[in-house]
């Protein structure tokens, strides 16, 4: 289990800025899709250092490593 944290700022004009924390690699893009479904289209996307770290390994239930 990983703790995900999102810092969301809604400006007085309604524009939304989201800091996607706790991700390594491109996992944050999946989280971003969720916010796009709720709020609307991404106007601007800035990657921070964590984005360029190796993607997180997603272990599905029942999956075995050899």
């Amino acid at each position: 289990m990983k703790l995900r944290e999102y810092e969301i700022t809604i400006s007085p004009s309604g524009e939304v800025e989201i800091h996607l924390d706790g991700f390594k690699g491109k996992g944050c893009l999946e989280a971003l899709k969720l916010f796009e479904e709720i709020v609307g289209q991404t106007k601007e996307l800035r990657h921070t250092s964590g984005f360029y770290e190796p993607d997180e390994e997603v272990v599905l239930h029942g999956q075995q490593h050899h």
Binding site: R4, S11, F35, E44
Partner: protein, 158 residues
């Protein structure tokens, strides 16, 4: 931290959600809700309040409706300004601002502030509802000196 995204909101909702956002925005900006009724009952109210009127629309908006709410409007007032929110025939959320003795620039400035706050309140409520429904926890909600609303949301993920 992995990324920072800026999203442009899309307002697609039925009249009750639009109306709730308008009322909330009105309260934050010191407006009073005069009434909420059907166009047929109140046509021409805005024009009666003054000679100058500015018509605006909420960007990227759609008021989803069947027959309920199709002709509804909500009317606000503050310091001689009157604003009327409604749904136009194409389904967009529109509003007009009027006020005796005010310039078009003043009316437009009030309208932009009011329209922006309406979208802000709509997005706030939608985020709270949707994120809660997905098991996410709102751990902090604050309003900064610029009237931006800041939320901190956490959840555990496999």
């Amino acid at each position: 931290m992995s990324a920072v995204a800026v999203l442009t909101p899309v307002v697609i909702a039925a009249w009750p959600a639009i109306s709730a956002a308008v009322v909330s925005a009105a309260a934050h900006l010191g407006f009073t809700v005069l009434d909420e009724a059907h166009h047929a009952l109140n046509q021409g109210h805005a024009r009666e309040t003054g000679p100058r009127i500015v018509e605006m629309e909420v960007p990227q908006s759609e008021v989803v409706t069947g027959t309920l709410g199709r002709d509804q409007q909500i009317r606000l007032t503050r310091d001689g300004f009157t604003a009327v929110f409604a749904r136009d025939p194409r389904g967009r959320a529109t509003f007009c601002v009027s006020g005796e003795g005010h310039t078009e620039e003043e009316l437009r400035a009030i309208g932009e502030e009011l329209g922006g706050r309406m979208v802000q309140q709509y997005v706030l409520q939608k985020l709270k509802t949707e994120l809660s429904g997905r098991g996410m926890n709102l751990v902090e909600e604050t309003v900064d000196e610029n009237q931006a609303i800041r939320l901190t949301v956490r959840h555990w993920q496999n």
